[in-house]
Symmetry: C2
């Protein structure tokens, strides 16, 4: 109760003076665009060194099945980022009528193709295709998304492998901002296999192994966590990572003063004032920033980090393949 | 704070009348021996049906490296249980000086041997052998312990696979006692890869997939969770599963009245009164039973369930192999 009272006092204070001389009470906004740009710069240099030392240019092939405008946009962002860093890339577009067998056939070809060092199937795939079968079909060594069952197993076991880009990006943000995680309370809201579960694993596991995990106490909340309990868990958290796709889920009264709030949600909603569509996260940004210590915006927070970490993964898988080839 | 006060009142009341006419206030003791016996009876029938329909008798090979009295005892318990259920089994004993290469060679032979349907390497292995390399070397389809990286990945993804015996046994105990987990708060104390992490996955994940997980809100506490925070998380929990190997770690003041307390710890300590050694768990049993709604004893709680679930896994792996052979 003490924490909540404190929270109310601080947030009232923030509201009173917001935008004026006391705006320093507001959360520090984590600039994902800037941090991702910095990382892309490092990756560009890394790639140059790799190629300069006689290796081929890494090549990422993305596959889109069907016509989803969001998927098109995501893949376009990834391809643009590849171009910037110097990774060769191409997008294969298959019609929505593609059978699972045909998609598996393409993946098998890409797995075999020595020129292709990274393979990515943009999700979601059409409903008649089993997403899990597809993710597992991508060669574990070319699996830049880290969605193959073997890469998930390795992550769970703190082993070196490919970590899904979004949780890896969140980890990088926390490290970049020097957010203390060791022994702190973290809450992950959501239990998706591509974001939330790998996030919970990275947050709670032992920092002394290959994944350099974050040693936090972690609570996983999800659709069956009663709202009152969700609020209580969040209020006790030093770090909140939310990834569920519900605008406004995390409100000011759920956040402990000074907590770090990472918003993975991307929701397209209609702005009541302008009538135009806009992107928002799962956090009530304007309110929560009055209480939190750090907060990521949407867009410009986690999103660009996901793309940067995909490039990181693409470079990592390529390096491993080049190394394996030299060894064999 | 309210909960803690309530806890104190209830526990005082329990202490006052303990052992007398008000002993019904005491926790129900979950009899793992009895539940495991019931399961072994079912498995015996299942095995009979399997063999009666023309399949070979499943065969489990256990490997012990070095001479650890605890390992000898654990494996002996497993072999005895195999005998009771009708599973054929044998134990291969290798000297502590066995190299990793030699052990991998033996595992490769067992993997190939059609007669052997289950392979188990008793942990711990001597320090000069990499435990993870060994666990991953066991064929995923013969991996009755569920420690192979692929089985861990499948569990994390809610896929059908082999689940490590101890967390699977705890799940069965909870189900057998009709402990409500859906939307409840569970705390897992510990973050081991063989017990705690699979437990946290089974507790939090979605009940509608292959692993039939438990849909609880889950908090993972560990060595870096400050004691005060550990106590607070535990006091909020409807279910506590502790698996760290610290006698007396969970005390009465840390348990919410009516909570279900599952003790996975097995610690050999000297009884100050008798001077003899005895087994205790991680929970202060005599105190906590005055507050909890359900509690497992040590010994006789989780231990026998682990053995029963190993048999379950052995039967499951055998069935899959027989089925695959028929299909091919």
């Amino acid at each position: 109760m003490l924490r909540r009272s404190l929270g109310s006092i601080v947030s009232l204070a923030s509201r009173k003076y917001s935008g004026k001389s006391f705006s320093s009470n507001m959360a520090q906004i984590i600039n994902g665009n800037e941090i991702a740009k910095e990382i892309r710069g490092q990756l560009k240099q890394e790639l140059k060194d790799l190629v300069d030392s006689g290796n081929p240019v890494p090549h990422l092939t993305a596959v889109i099945v069907g016509e989803d405008p969001a998927s098109e946009k995501y893949v376009q962002n990834k391809m643009n980022a590849c171009l910037e860093v110097g990774i060769s890339s191409e997008t294969k577009r298959l019609p929505a009528s593609t059978t699972q067998e045909e998609l598996l056939q393409l993946i098998a070809e890409l797995n075999k193709d020595q020129r292709v060092t990274g393979v990515l199937v943009q999700l979601p795939v059409p409903e008649h295709i089993n997403e899990r079968t597809i993710c597992n079909a991508v060669d574990v060594d070319k699996d830049v998304d880290g969605f193959n069952e073997l890469n998930i197993g390795r992550l769970a076991l703190d082993m070196d492998g490919i970590v899904p880009a979004t949780p890896l990006g969140v980890k990088r943000l926390l490290e970049h901002q020097n957010i203390e995680t060791h022994g702190r309370n973290a809450v992950v809201v959501g239990r998706s296999k591509n974001v939330s579960l790998p996030m919970a694993i990275l947050l709670h596991a032992d920092g002394k192994y290959a994944t350099k995990a974050l040693d936090a106490t972690v609570t996983i909340c999800h659709r069956y966590t009663p709202p009152k309990e969700l609020a209580r868990h969040c209020r006790q958290a030093d770090i909140i990572v939310v990834a569920v796709g519900k605008p406004g889920l995390i409100t000011k009264d759920m956040v402990k003063p000074g907590a770090c709030v990472i918003d993975v949600g991307i929701n397209r909603i209609k702005d009541e004032k302008t009538g135009k569509f806009k992107l928002v996260g799962d956090v009530d940004f304007e309110e929560v920033r009055q209480v939190a210590g750090h907060i990521t915006p949407v867009p410009g927070g986690v999103g660009p980090m996901t793309v940067a970490m995909l490039l990181h993964n693409t470079l990592k898988t390529a390096k491993k393949q080049f190394c394996d080839r030299q060894a064999s």
